[in-house]
Structures are given as structure tokens and as C-alpha cells.
């Protein structure tokens, strides 16, 4: 099997210290995970790539019990404040219930395998786990 790994999305950076990256507006510091022609905050057109902190605090969450076919439920979807940058992701490695997941809890980025495709390439996903 090939050892090739591909990130689930292009803003996940793999390697020894997996982390997320964002396009940051050099004018106002607004951060975007997708590409923008101009900054939605200040209309600036210069961006640079910046790493996002891998530790954060849960600012909002929900426990999804009903989802589209093919999506395993229940799962915890959350907004995590990573040192001032908000990140969307699931919370894993904990029971998906309101006794185990709470607002303000500290979490850290983690990665996991989504399996291999026909060529042997392995997709790597990310989520947050209790810190």
C-alpha cells in the first residue's frame, strides 16, 4: 500500500504537527479558510497563509441526532475558538451527550484516517478532542 496521505480539506496541513491554516488578510487580519478575491471585512486584496492554533475552547455545540443518509449519528458539531480564530469541527473521543460535552471546555485538534481509496491513498480528517 502506498503511504500517500491526502487531507480531507486543503486547509488541513499534515506532517509531524498537523494543524489548520487560513488565508489572512494582510490589511485587517481577517481569516478565511477558502480563497477570497478581496477581504470580506476590509476589501484588501493581499493575503498570507497563517497557521491556526491547535488548542481552543468550545464556544457553541450541538449534538446532531438526525442527519442526511450516510452520516453517522449522533455526533457533536462545534464552534471552537482557537486563540481568536473560530474553527468549525466535530468533537470526538468523548461520549456525544450533554453530560460530557459542555460550553467552554478545552479541546485540541486531532486527526484520524478516513480510509484508503483504490490507489491506496489515505484521506486524513480532523476533529477536536477534550484537552
Amino acid at each position: 500500500m502506498s503511504s500517500k496521505q491526502v487531507p480531507v480539506v486543503d486547509y488541513l496541513v499534515l506532517g509531524d504537527e498537523p494543524h489548520l491554516k487560513a488565508h489572512e488578510c494582510t490589511g485587517c487580519g481577517a481569516r478565511f479558510f477558502d480563497r477570497r478575491n478581496a477581504c470580506a471585512g476590509c476589501s484588501g486584496t493581499e493575503f498570507r497563509d497563517v497557521p491556526i492554533a491547535t488548542k481552543g475552547e468550545v464556544r457553541a455545540f450541538t449534538i446532531v441526532s438526525l442527519a442526511a443518509p450516510g452520516i453517522k449519528v449522533p455526533f457533536v458539531a462545534a464552534v471552537v475558538d482557537c486563540a481568536g480564530t473560530s474553527v468549525r469541527g466535530n468533537i470526538i473521543d468523548t461520549e456525544p451527550d450533554a453530560d460530557h460535552v459542555r460550553l467552554g471546555m478545552n479541546v485540541q485538534l486531532t486527526t484520524y484516517s478516513l480510509g484508503a481509496d483504490d490507489s491506496g491513498a489515505e484521506a486524513i480528517g480532523f476533529a477536536f478532542q477534550p484537552a
Binding site: 480531507v8 480539506v9 457553541a60 452520516i71
Partner: protein
């Protein structure tokens, strides 16, 4: 009445619910013809038609409606603006009259949504990918709904309410369920509501969980329905009959906003800032303050959403929505009755109809025609809708001076 004021001359909403034997055109036609009749006017007097039907936004519902009730050759604007589609249609007609292009206009919103199920989430192919190929704006190798957060509406709005709780404290599953309890209780007085069943708090909390803390009873009801309104200029209204003038409702403010950029709005839609901006503009336009409101119809697409809009519409001090609700203020006998129609959770949410149906509810009270659910002596009310993406419509309405 000032010549350049805008008034609602006629307005109607159909019964919300399951209309198996009627299509969108039938429902839109019922609402439009009844709104015209309510205003004592005909389609021939309309100078503009603005129409919305979100789920078939490319079908030209405006022209379809004309073929059903009268092809008079007037300009048609087919609008689509998520859950704010109805409010956008109304505002489009208002702008045309305000601009002096015509003195009367018709706005219609219609949706067939019964059995639509879960909105917003994307499915995943049953079989595993044969090739992890990045695609789309995030270079995703597989659909990410459910892998990286949730796209489902109940889940998105659950987080909106939870975020408010994180910021200000005081929220709980039970608190959100109590908001739903209020709206379902209110719905028992509204014969046009899709559901008129009163639930106990326990029943609401024991309903199937959709996205914590929203159970099924705390989600807006997918259903069919239409609503329509006739707007008229103050100058034209002066030439109409005494009954038309007496029943006309003044549009004291008509505002549409989108969300300005805020940190995190790319992660979780910010439904707060644009609502607050719209409310602020509306109060200023109307020259009224939140304390003046006799009733409010706000966008309770989920119980978790209603809470944050108490604050966004400035019905309470900033951060004070939980205390405000716990005081009983938003029950129909409270100081600021909210969603006496039953709200989207029980009246139902046929998307494009909602932004006119909530105006119909307010008008009914201002005219003193709301029957058993009348808020006595109502003189000013506010209607609010929000569509993700985002768009927010706020209208403030006032009873005609006697």
C-alpha cells in the same frame, strides 16, 4: 396620512398545513385574490407584482400567478432570498410604490414544503470513494457535512442558541423547551396554524431529539402555504373609501439587511448582527422604541433562535434574553407578546410565505380582527424574518389613526 407613506391595503394568508390537492400556483392565487378582495381592489389596479417561491426559484412564480389570475402586463419581480423571501417580495413592492413608479403593488410568497424533511444537510455517497480527489472551494476529498460540523438547519440554529448561552449564561435544554411550550400554547388560538396542539414541557423535551437542544417540537414545521399583501401609497389611499382607509395598516418601517463581516461568520452564520442592524434602522425609521411594541412576530425557526432575537430586536437589555423570557414577557399576556400566531414552530414555515404571513398576523391585531387571540388595543407591531446567507427583513406596522 402623508402622501409618501406606504400602507398595507389588503392582506391574506392561506391555511398553513398539508395541501395535497393544490400546487404552488393554486395557493399563490388563493392568497393573492383574497388579499386583493381584502383591500377592495383588483389585479387591474396593481402596478407591480413581486413574488417569491424559494424551492422553485427559477420557475417564475410571478408570471405563473399572472396566468392564473390576470395577465395585465405589469412588471414582475421574482425574488429569492432564503427564508427572507416573503419579506423581500413585500419590500420590493414597497420600493416600487415609494419610488413613484406606481401607486399600488402586490407581493406574494408561496411554498410547498410538506414532507420536505431535514433542510440544509448534504448526503454522502453510500460507497467509499474510489479516488480521494480534492474539489470545491475547500479542496474537500469527500462531502464534509457531518465530518466537519453540521450543515443541517436544526444543528446550525442549535449552535446559535448555545453560543448565546456561552456568552451570557443561563440557558439550558429546559429553557429552550419552555420557549417552544409558549409558542405551541399560543397556536391553539390560531385556526390557520399547521399545528394547534398544546404540548407540556415534558412532552416537548421527550420528543425525538433532532439536534440538541432542539427536539422535533422545537423545530419549525415544514408545511404548505401562501400569503399576499397589497401595498398602496398614502396619496392613493386618500382617494379610496372610508372602510379601506380605516382598515389600512401603516408600514412605518421596512428594512432589509445582510450580514456585515464578523469574525466567525464563515464558520457559523451570524444571525445577530444583521438583525440588530435591521432593528435599529427600523426603530429609527418608525420613530418607535421596543417598549412601544404591542406584539412581535419573530423568526423562531427553532426554539434556540427565538431566544437570541429577543436580544437582537432589543426587546430586552443586551445579554438579558433569558431573564426577559423567564419574566413571562413574551407570553400573550406579557409585556411584549412574541409569536402569538404560534410562530414557525407550530404555525409552520412555508419558507417564502413566512415573511408576509407574519405581517398578516400583526395587521390582524392592529385592525382588531384577530378574534380569540386578539391582543387588545394593539397599535404597533413588528415582524421579523431571517434567511441564512444571510438576509434579514424587519417591518414595523401601525394602526391607522381613527
Amino acid at each position: 396620512m402623508a402622501a409618501d407613506d406606504i400602507w398595507i391595503l389588503g392582506i391574506h394568508m392561506t391555511k398553513f398545513g398539508k395541501h395535497t390537492d393544490r400546487d404552488t400556483v393554486d395557493l399563490a392565487a388563493e392568497a393573492a385574490m383574497a388579499a386583493l378582495a381584502d383591500g377592495g381592489v383588483s389585479i387591474k389596479q396593481m402596478g407591480v407584482l413581486a413574488a417569491g417561491n424559494l424551492m422553485a426559484a427559477n420557475a417564475g412564480i410571478g408570471q405563473q400567478l399572472q396566468k392564473q389570475i390576470g395577465q395585465t402586463g405589469i412588471p414582475v419581480y421574482n425574488v429569492a432570498n432564503a427564508c427572507a423571501t416573503g419579506a423581500t417580495a413585500l419590500r420590493t413592492a414597497i420600493m416600487a410604490v415609494k419610488a413613484g413608479e406606481c401607486d399600488m403593488g402586490l407581493a406574494v410568497g408561496v411554498e410547498k414544503l410538506s414532507g420536505a424533511g431535514l433542510l440544509g444537510g448534504g448526503g454522502r455517497p453510500k460507497s467509499a470513494a474510489t479516488n480521494w480527489t480534492p474539489s470545491g472551494r475547500y479542496g474537500a476529498v469527500t462531502p464534509v457535512d457531518g465530518l466537519i460540523g453540521t450543515d443541517t438547519m436544526p444543528g446550525v440554529f442549535a449552535q446559535v442558541g448555545m453560543e448565546y448561552g456561552h456568552r451570557y449564561g443561563g440557558t439550558s435544554f429546559e429553557l429552550f423547551a419552555r420557549i417552544s411550550e409558549k409558542n405551541h400554547a399560543h397556536s391553539t388560538l390560531n385556526p390557520l396554524a399547521a399545528y394547534q396542539k398544546r404540548f407540556t414541557l415534558e412532552e416537548i423535551m421527550n420528543e425525538p431529539m433532532i439536534a440538541y437542544p432542539n427536539t422535533r417540537a422545537m423545530c419549525s414545521a415544514n408545511c404548505d402555504g401562501a400569503a399576499a399583501a397589497v401595498v398602496v401609497s398614502g396619496a392613493k389611499l386618500k382617494t379610496l373609501g372610508p372602510d379601506q382607509q380605516r382598515r389600512a395598516v401603516k408600514v412605518s418601517a421596512s428594512v432589509l439587511t445582510t450580514d456585515p463581516w464578523e469574525e466567525a461568520c464563515q464558520i457559523l452564520p451570524d444571525v445577530n448582527t444583521l438583525t440588530r442592524n435591521a432593528a435599529r434602522q427600523a426603530y429609527e425609521q418608525a420613530g418607535v422604541s421596543p417598549e412601544d411594541l404591542d406584539l412581535v412576530e419573530l423568526h423562531d425557526c427553532f426554539a434556540t433562535a427565538e431566544l437570541v432575537h429577543y436580544d437582537n430586536l432589543m426587546l430586552c437589555p443586551e445579554g438579558g434574553a433569558v431573564d426577559f423570557f423567564n419574566s413571562g414577557a413574551t407570553w400573550r399576556d406579557g409585556s411584549t407578546p412574541v409569536n402569538v400566531s404560534g410562530g414557525l414552530e407550530s404555525k409552520g414555515h412555508p419558507i417564502a410565505a413566512t415573511g408576509i404571513a407574519n405581517i398578516w398576523e400583526v395587521c390582524n391585531h392592529l385592525r382588531g380582527e384577530a378574534g380569540p387571540r386578539q391582543i387588545e388595543g394593539a397599535t404597533v407591531g413588528l415582524a421579523h424574518v431571517i434567511g441564512l446567507g444571510s438576509a434579514c427583513g424587519v417591518h414595523i406596522l401601525e394602526r391607522a389613526a381613527a
